[in-house]
Point group: C2
Chain length 235, copies 2
């Protein structure tokens, strides 16, 4: 399929990183070592490493080497400030609904493709708390038949994305968001333990992945009074 030599280097290294054979913070083989491993020149190896850098898998350090990076912090995605970033806070996640096969929920604001709609989907929802205080509820849907045996395996370190990467070698490649400020519904007010009718931040997300035609749909409802949602974008 893909005969470009730099892709071979790139995909080989990516797979090793996804599998955990090169852990975060460790160094990849040097460029010269990769040259002999793959029988190519440095230009080709460097092109592969450039791509991995662009994808956020590695950082390169002049005079030292290429170091494996924690990608989850570099995606520019919306996340509760202090949730995945902050250390030393008491964070917790509880399932409101464990993953199970269900029907597509009409609540998703992004259009689901016909192809997806024909399939069953998997749904799960989680409540996110800081210091035991609920700050966000998250509803997720995705096409069932794309992730073989998903319901049966556990989330790696409580992270859906980490699970996708390590078990299925699927990465998040992008996302679309729609943001609304609404009055909270009574159901969600009860779950988040906030007064009825409070303003709440509603975020609809469509995640794009490295797997063809595989998307993740999420609806997030956040109380932003104490923990505003942060996001960042850099060139």
């Amino acid at each position: 399929m893909e005969e470009k030599r730099y892709r071979l280097v790139q995909n080989f290294l990516k797979l090793q990183i996804q599998k955990g054979n090169f852990v975060v913070g460790s160094y990849l083989p040097s460029e010269n070592e990769l040259c002999t491993m793959f029988g190519v020149t440095r230009t080709t190896v460097r092109k592969g490493l450039d791509e991995l850098t662009r994808e956020g898998f590695i950082d390169r350090q002049h005079g030292k080497g290429s170091i494996v990076r924690d990608r989850r912090k570099s995606l520019g995605l919306l996340n509760v400030k202090g949730f995945s970033e902050a250390v030393g806070k008491d964070l917790s996640t509880v399932f409101v609904q464990h993953p199970k096969i269900s029907l597509w929920n009409p609540d998703t604001h992004f259009a689901i493709s016909e192809q997806e709609f024909k399939e069953k989907c998997i749904h799960f929802s989680r409540l996110r708390c800081v210091y035991e205080v609920p700050v966000m509820i998250e509803y997720n849907w995705f096409a069932d038949n794309r992730l073989e045996g998903f319901s049966d395996i556990d989330f790696i370190e409580g992270s859906f994305f980490k699970t996708l990467s390590q078990h299925y070698h699927i990465e998040i490649t992008g996302s679309e968001h729609e943001l609304r400020s609404e009055r909270v519904s009574n159901d969600i007010a009860a779950l988040l333990k906030i007064p009825q009718g409070s303003p709440i931040l509603h975020i609809s997300v469509k995640f794009h992945t490295s797997k063809n035609n595989f998307f993740l749909y999420s609806e997030l409802y956040c109380t932003t009074e104490n923990y505003p949602i942060g996001s960042s974008y850099h060139l």
Copy 2:
């Protein structure tokens, strides 16, 4: 300062694009032409073009050439859906406060550096409407002495960013956001013509720029009922 040859190519082309000498949609000189223009090899020219691609200035088309791109749509920044994207809608912007020298406003949620705080700042605010209906009010602050003679010149096509690029060759390189869902204040409710106490989306933004230590601070208040805020991110 910068002696790398690919930077020469990159910066030369970037400046021409910023000045409008290469307009959006036109083709840059071919790689071979650039080679002879700068007396370097294709590897070097291509490295410069790679950088421009990464920065969003150009797209490259196999067999055709490198085409100048409209960068403002590629930043993954938050913008009112249908504001800068949609065509055929009746969009308008009115100044609530024209640019003038003022004091730093304590309303900004991001910390302003000591260096900036010592300087005066320029402030302006604008009301954004769709079909004459106000949907967003925007307050902006930035350090005065960074943009010589700013108050006196007009916005290019009503765009602050376009003005920064063409007049000062400054580009937006990134941004940080904080999002909150709040009850609207009475002042803002009046400006946006919405009922008092309505939920409103409050976005604090710190824009990073290509000019050292120059940032733009914005506070946005958006009614999201009819026109939700959209954003997207792609690898």
